[in-house]
Each structure stands twice: as C-alpha cells, then as structure tokens.
Symmetry: D2
Subunit: 337 residues, 4 copies
C-alpha cells in the first residue's frame, strides 16, 4: 500500500464548500498534494475579499469562487463535496453522471437501507451501486472502484476502526456502548446558541441520546444495535470515544491485540497503543486514529479508547485518503506532514 505512485499527470480537482471548516482543511491539504491541480474552491458564501482564506495566505492564494456545479462537472476529474446535506444530495448525482469521481463528506449517501435513509435523510435519491462507504482501512477495493465515495465522519470512523475487526473476528458479545466526546468544530461553522463561545466554554453536555443518525450508521456497518451517546466538550478539534464491550468467554487481552494488529498491519494511519491510552492532543492536525484498550479478565469487560481529529481523519483527511486510493496515489500522499 505504501509504494510510491507511478502516476505522472496531475488530477484536476474541485472543492465545493471551501469556506467551511472541513472545506478549508481540504484546500489546505490539496494545495500541497503532489498529484493535484486545485482548479476550483467554491462556496455559496464566496465574497470578493482577497485572500479568501486568510489562514492559508501564501500556502494557497487562489480565490474562492461562487458555487457553480456545472463548472465542477465540466472541468475537473474529481470533486470534493463539503456541503450541507441537502446541497450534497442535490449536486452529487449530476457530477457522477458527468463522469466525475465524487468524494462526499456529507451523510446523505452513507446509509444503504432504504428505511434508515428515509428516516434520517428523507427525499435523498439513491445512487445505489455507484457508492462506496469511504472508510479506507476497511473498504479499499470498493473505494478504488466507486464513482462516489461517501466518507464517514468522526464518530463512525473512530467507532468502526475500533470495533469492526473485533466483531468480524467474533471476539465480542453484542452489547456495545460508545461514549463520544467531541470538540466544537464538529458542529460546523454556522453560529448558533449551542456553539456560542460563552455557552460551550467551561461546560460539558450530552446530546442526541437515542436519536443521533451517526448511531444508525455505526449500526449499519457493524450489523448490530449500539448505544451511542455524543457529548460536546470545550475544545475545538478532536474527538475521543470510550467504547464499552464485553469479550466472549475464552477471549483474552492477547486475542484483542492480535486481531487489531492483523487488521492494521499495513494501515498507515491507525496507531495501536495497546494498554497506553490515547490523548486527543497527539492526533490533532494529523490523519491518525489512535487506539488503546484495557481488559478486566474477571468481568470480561473490554474498554477501548479511540481518538482522531474530526476535521482530518474525520473529514478532509479521510476524503483525501480515499482520493489517493481511487487515483492510484500512495495512500499517504498529501497527508504526511
């Protein structure tokens, strides 16, 4: 997987939603990607201020232009969508039809079950066979072939990287609890009371208990129900999930380590810490997902802790990693700084 690219030509790329937090991170990553020509950074809120993205001045001095899906369809090879759900649902089909490879950061194409999709994303047309679930460590072959890669966000990514190999290996009983702590940038860039500094600084709260659509997504990929409770914590970037599972009788701490080691032996971006517990500070501004765990043999209780940067491995970095797979680049291209 790590072998260097043999490609010579650059891929013409467009970003839609370039001024949001995930969108800005996409521009930052793609501007330095050795195989990318960043042709368009579009935003429905584009203004004439120059530079449009002050944090990126000198690193990328292009102008953010008004959102124009037709131009994306006409003059790119690949399009990254960092749009609100309805906008993504609206523009993706035409881009796929036009032959573009689409890397979508929204949630609208991630659920396969029609009933679940109707519940969480009503009125989104199915793209069926064109779509791959974009968790590269678990789904490389489908991602390479798909027209649209539906990139999972921070919550499913941390949960699935941790749990999917263990369930696949038959190590766990079915009852799983995922307690997630998220920084505020995960709520996006639109001001709201909930994300007002004075409301979330110095506080912690739970939200979305039994009613968070990312729980449905985790359940789809694991094939079993989970209890998923997200919390807002007062930091900007990064999430940490504490996952409570129970080992099947006869399964040991060593079995857990063996299964995870085997699953991620060739995964550049999953760092297994064993009994060391991960810290959000070690993953921010990287595409890594760090995973640690502890077992209490007497009760067969397994506690796993996973963390990642919600704007990188939980959004823009994941999308670039999928792009690398789809276009034959080294999986780390543009992500290894």
């Amino acid at each position: 997987m790590h072998k260097s690219q043999s490609r010579r030509e650059t891929v013409r790329v467009g970003v839609a939603g370039a001024t949001g937090y995930a969108g800005q991170e996409l521009v930052r990553l793609l501007a330095r990607h050795p195989g990318v020509e960043l042709r368009f950074a579009m935003s429905s809120g584009a203004s004439d201020r120059v530079p449009s993205l002050p944090a990126l001045a000198r690193l990328w001095d292009g102008a953010v232009s008004s959102f124009a899906p037709d131009r994306l369809a006409a003059d790119t090879d690949a399009v990254f969508l960092a749009l609100p759900d309805p906008a993504a649902a609206e523009v993706a089909p035409a881009l796929v039809t036009a032959g573009r490879r689409v890397f979508d950061l929204s949630g609208v194409f991630r659920l396969r079950d029609a009933g679940q999709r109707a519940r969480w994303y009503p009125e989104v047309a199915s793209l069926d066979g064109a779509v791959a679930y974009g968790l590269p460590e678990r789904n490389r072959e489908r991602i390479r072939a798909a027209r649209l890669v539906a990139c999972p966000g921070c919550y499913p990514t941390a949960a699935l990287l941790t749990l999917a190999p263990l369930f696949a290996g038959g190590l766990l009983e079915d009852d799983v609890i995922i307690d997630a702590k998220s920084g505020v940038s995960g709520a996006g860039k639109t001001p709201s009371e909930r994300t007002h500094f004075s409301e979330c600084h110095d506080s912690v709260s739970a939200y979305g208990i039994f009613s968070h659509r990312h729980g449905a997504e985790i359940e789809q990929e694991l094939g079993l129900p989970v209890t998923f409770v997200p919390h807002l914590v007062p930091l900007n970037r990064g999430i940490l999930e504490t996952i409570y599972a129970r080992l099947r009788p006869g399964v040991s701490d060593k079995d857990v380590a063996a299964v995870l080691d085997a699953a991620y032996r060739d995964a550049a971006f999953v760092r297994l810490l064993g009994a060391e517990l991960p810290h959000i500070k070690h993953v921010v501004h990287t595409n890594f997902c760090d995973i640690g765990w502890r077992v209490d043999a007497a009760s067969r209780r397994l506690v796993l802790v996973a963390c990642l940067d919600n704007l990188v491995k939980g959004a823009a970095g994941q999308a670039v990693q999928n792009f690398n797979l789809a276009f034959g680049f080294d999986e780390r291209a543009g992500l290894w700084a």
Copy 2:
C-alpha cells in the same frame, strides 16, 4: 458608606432583558438581595419553558415574562434595563416620566456631549439632568439623586477607577494608552461568527482600534484623549486592562499609592494591590475591581493593571451597587457573597 440599612420595606423591582448574560446576572443578584421584591423578569424572547433560567432553578423559580414596558412603569419602584441600545433608548424616557428609578446598562445615556452622542448613538433623545453617570466610587452624590443611572460597562469602569483619581490629583501627563483584554461574554448572547467557539477559542485578536465608543466614554470622563485598544481573549468572564501612563516630573511611586489609597479608603469593591499584579481569576463572580501598578522611575513610566468581572462590576453588580446607593441600602447589599 458601610453602615447597615435602616430601611424596612422592600423595593419592587423589574428587570428588562432578563435572559441575556447581564440580565441573568441581575436576576441572580436581585433574587437574593435582602431589600428587593423581584416582581418582573422580562424578555422579548420569553418562552414557556419552566424554569426559564435553568442555571437559577431553586434560587429563583419565577417565570420570565414577555417584555411589557407598561407593566414595568405601573408596578415597580425601580427598573433595571439590560437591553440592546435601541430598546433602552426607546423605553427609558417613559419609565422616568412615570416616576420609576431606572438603572440602565446600555450605553445610550452615558455620553453627555451632543456631538459625541450623535456620532455613537444617533437618534437617542437626551434625558439631560435626569441622568447620572453610574460609577459609584466616583459619583455617589449624583447617583443618589438621579432619576436614571447610566451604568458604565467593563471597559470604562476599569479605566476610570484606575485613572480618574490620578488625573484629578494632577499626577499624570496627558498621554495614556489603555490595552484591554476581554472575555467573550462581553460580546453578549447573540451568536455571531466572531463569538463562535471555533473562531475565538485558541485565538487572540484586537478590534475596534480608533473606533470604539467606549473610548469616547473614557475620554469624556477623563477630559482628555486616550488610545484605547480592546482585544478578545479566550475566556468567558472578566477583563483586564493594562494602562500605560507617564508621571509628571517629581511624582513618585509613593504619590501614586497615596492618591489611590485616599480615593478608595471607603470603597468596598476596589482592592488596591500595589506592586502585586492582579489576575482575572481573583475577581470573577465578584463585584471587585483589583488594581496593581509598577513605576519605572528613570523613564517616569507608570504601568497600571486593573481587572474585574464584566458581568458583575462591569454590568449587573455595578447596577445593583447604584441601586443600593439610590435606595439607601448598604452599598454591598446583595453583592457580598
């Protein structure tokens, strides 16, 4: 000043703007004030949720009601206005006419000069002689007599408590710089990009250079021009001002201490620290203003540092302190927890 009250009857009080940050702090303070009957807590955004102010449940379980100035005029003795500037400008005159004592936290009645008022608060009618500038430590007699007390906010309060006695004593040359660092709650409760958690967490920035109306207010009270630069820093409550002045020839460190000591000998809420430098953490949730200073004799440079809680001494606490003066209570009543 500290003598206990002799009053027996309680004062009937209303708060307009009770769900904003200063308004909630007013409700918190007035609910435990021994001489107050809190009759109304009104808000234009009042809803039917009970309790209306979840942080205050049990401490004050009244309902926040819809904003109704007529009821304030009819059934109170005193009204606290914690409203946006235009709303305060609109309702205050009628309350004064109705004979209510008004304690206004907005900026609209603080500037006396017609030209300055026209610049910063166009279309605000003058209330002229009815108004006192509500800095209690500098203006007790006028506050006792006034119909409307225009309570200064955090920036002028810290600057004037520090500088006014020194200029009045003739200790300083005219050139003064005030570098202010403010927590985010000073920007109010309305969500905005500027006060979005992800925008102000982990950042510091200056704003309003040469164009902040609180600079005009400081200049009015000192009677000379100042350079005033506010900054947003990533904490919720509290401001700290670093003030750069120059001593007149022959003035010493001891003179500074003597003048400040004399000015605040009887001031319950000004704590003079001398060469100890104040910390915001020591004043939050109190009505104190802490002041420290250092002198470099060779250059005659005087650096003063003052801090206070913008929602207490810079807003609700200051208004209650003025209320105490106006109604003959101990100045500390309701503020000394």
Copy 3:
C-alpha cells in the same frame, strides 16, 4: 429539612489544608456562614504574605496559619480536613478523641471493608463506629450522630445520587457503566505534568481504567460491581457523569421518574431535569447536583447524566452541608448564594 435553625451560638470552626482548592472553597463558604466563627485556616505551606488568599481579600482577611493539629483539637467545635490522604489519616483520630466533630474530605475513612481499605489506603487505622459516609441526601441520620463524617468526592457523589435510589427501588439490572468527565481542579493544586496547562488544554484522555479507588467506593455503596472510567477534560471546575444502566423487564421511564422524585422531594440540592440533559455550566459555583435521563424502551437501556461542581457538591459544599446537619442548621445555611 428546610426549617430554619433555632441555634443561637456560633460554632467555632477550623479548616486544615486551607490553601488547596477545596480548602479555599471551605474558607469562602464558612466565612459567610451565619452560624460559624472561623477561628483557624491552617496550611502546612502557610507563608507570611498578606492576604494569604488573594481571591478572598475583603471577604475573609484572616491569616492562614501553620498547620497545628493541637490547636485545632483545643480551640474548636468542628474541624474540616482538606488534607492529603496520609495527613488526614494521621490527624483525624486525635481530633475525634478530643471530642471535635470532624468533616473529612479525604478518601481514607470512606471504605468500610478492611480488605478494600488495605488495598487502597494501606496503614490507615479504622475509626469504625465513629464514622458516617457523608452523602447527606442518602444518610442524614447517621451523619447527625457521627463523630467523623467521611465526605465523598465528586465521582461517588454524582454516581450514588443517581444510582442509589434506583437500585434501592429494584429498577435496574446489575450491569452499570459510569463514564465520568472531570475538570482539572479535581486533580488538586500540586503542579504535575498531567495538569500542566499545555498538556491538558485542548485534549481529552481517559485514566485509571479498572484501577480507580473511587470505583471501589461506588461499588461499596451500591453493593455491586460497576465499570467506572474517568476522563480529564479541559475545563477547571465541574464533572459530568454519563451512566449506562438497563431497566429490569417491566420497568418504565415513569418508574424511574417516580423513584427519583420520591428520593429527592425534600433535597434542596438535587435538581431533577427529566428528559432535559444537564450542563456543567449550570452547576459550577453551586452545591447543586443536576440529573437528567432518557430511556429507550425497546432495549430497556437507561442513560442518566449527572453533573456537579467538584469543589462544591463534590468537596467543600458537601462538607458544609454535612456540618449543617450535624449542628442543627438549615441544610442550606452558607450554601444558598
């Protein structure tokens, strides 16, 4: 419980460990308590700086004196111990023998089982019958009679207030998970790498999985094993616990509400929010514990969320509440500001 005190004389009180975070909070609370004469605030690190506690200047201008257990035994009625575990273990027995009522914030006298005590607090002598477990809402009678009240800290307090009535009422199956998020002040005042600003700001991490002695304390009081995982989150004051339980067959959401309502009908400091979820910001600087919950009927999963201020209801406020019980004051005395 809320009836006013009839006592007339003040209680002579001493605080040991007055410069730590819980100790400072004790001084702050006791200095304004209407029935207390605060005779001693002692610290092994007392210096000659005046005032010793700059945040409390004016509110309490006494001097912090060197730690002298003999003077506490001789000249007080009640002693609050906010000391490190070994120091508390050393001085408490003599104070009890001298006839003082002791309110201990350390962990050393909380475990009753000799084996557990030997594991977590080796070499601590038992005080046996003299001790009451100081959770006032669950143990009022014993606290009134005890010589030493072993006040539980933030983690057990939130967990037990939430779970104890539900287990006592037979509503829950035995398997319980407690995921706790704690501010940094809970780690105390001694600098360490773990509590260094640059290490814990902008990060979250789990610690003490399967090896935290507060887990043992929760298990003792509930009488069954629990999975307890604490986390450090980047705020100063406050903890929030998310508790995952399972209802026994036939138990409904209404049963949960009924049991909790009955348990806390007369509890001044427990606020039940029902399906509203609590926020740390609403409890900091108060003695409240806020509790909310949600039920998924299909899976019988019950998720409870509880939060409190670790320095107040999780430390100093709890101790003062116990003191009020022991000396016949209104339970809210000194705590209702």
Copy 4:
C-alpha cells in the same frame, strides 16, 4: 531567496533537548526536511519508552537518547540546542570549536553588550564574532556566515519584525510600548504553579513589568528603550503583540505601508495585512508572522499588531529557517506544509 536548492547531500543533524516543546517541534520539522538526516534527538530526561515522542509516532520513530554532547560534536554537521540557558551556555562553545554549526534557541548568546549580558545571563562566556543574531528577515548575510546562530524567541521576533524597518526608515518617534499576550507553552514544559491548568485557565495576568530580559534584547536590536509588558493568556500556542508607536510629523499611513512592503517583499514568512488585524488562529502551526496596523492621523498614533506561533516562528521554525540559510537550502525547506 525562494530559488530551489541545488544541494544534493543531506546534512547530518542533532537536536539537544528533544523532549521539550521547542525540541519536539524541531524533531517534527527536521524529520520531514528533505535535506536533513536526523541522527540524534537527545534529552537529559530520555527514558526507554518507545516511541519516545508519542505524538510523532510513525512520523519519526527514532529513539530519544541520553544527552551526550561529545557524540553531537563528533557525528553531526549541525546541532540545534533547545536547552535551558545554563546547559546551552555550557555546551555551545565546544560544539563551535569542534566545527559544528550551532543553532541555539536559548537566550544566552543573544545579548552583545557585556553589561547587559552580565545582568541577565551572568557567567556566560562570550563567543564574540562567532555569533549572529538569528532573525533571518533582518540579518541574512551574517547568519549565513556565523558559527553559532542565536535564534530570538517569540517576543523579540514579533517586535523586531514589526518595528525594526520602521525605525530604520526613520518613521517613528522614540517612545514605544509593546503589550504582549502569550500562550502558556512559551513557559516551557516544566510544571509550576504558574502554568498549572487551574491557575492559568480562565485568567489573564501581566508579569515581568520593567524586568523582562526579552525587553533588553528588543532594546539592543532597536537601539532605544522600550516599554515591554508580557501577559499570560489562556491558550497554548501563539503570541500577539500590540505595539503603540508615534509617527514623526509628516509621516503617513502610506509611508508605513511602503516601508514594510519594501522590507518584506521577498520574505516568505511575513504576511502584511495592512488594516486587517491579525488573529493568532491564523498563524498557529505555521512559521508565519502576520502584521496589521492602523494610524490615527490627528494624533500620529500608530498601532501595530503582530502575531506568530511561539513554538514555530518563535522557536523551532525560526531555527530551521536559519539552518536553511546557513546550508544553502530554500528558506522554506521543511517549513512549507
């Protein structure tokens, strides 16, 4: 300046002090530098844990080894010293004598005046002509030739980049005030009460008024006295300086812009924002210094605001930039991600 390197061979490099904050940042930058072979990362606190720097796992999996100056002298071409002042003073001379190029992040070799050096760094031997003051934008030629580059820290870098061209151009009167706001990582990695999370979170304070050695360094480079007051603000990385100067009569806003534009036309890492004011959030994790300014023509008051990341442009990035100059690399090599 931006022309690409023609060098082919890699430079053998060692880092001393690799586990401190600046040291870790050096390892991070040098590990991906295309012209560097990172041979040694040493620390007096090196342990056997693998990986030694968990945040850098995968990016740099070398072992941090015990501090061994002899090995640095024997087997490197260039050495970066990220050591406490006394350690840097002790080991630098021998490394210079051994022919190594030394990039020192400490303060001990920055002051040229013997009297000043005796005051702030007593007992440090002079290295005289071997030393260049390592502010690359102002001192390129001397840095290319020097044996030891004394790299200025965050405070002097922001102040000098802003003021030096303006004084050199004769635009300013002599009286300058620098009000600096610094994140906590600038205080280093050693735990202390001052940098304890619970002490600096939610607070702001000034320190070192009239007694900060970086003020002396700024005065040396400008050739005139300044008033320099640093403050600690509750964020981890980044400083912002607000600088108060006065224009000489006849000097305009345009003159300021012209002089700064000319000074930094070819400077990759200085971004001039004009009347836009910089934000710390836009420079963290970069080697940029952002500068904005405003002029009040009537009073000739000039307010400049500059910010940078104290661990990059104020420490490790600056040192790497100097290294690039000294070894003929593009100035941006290893710094442009």
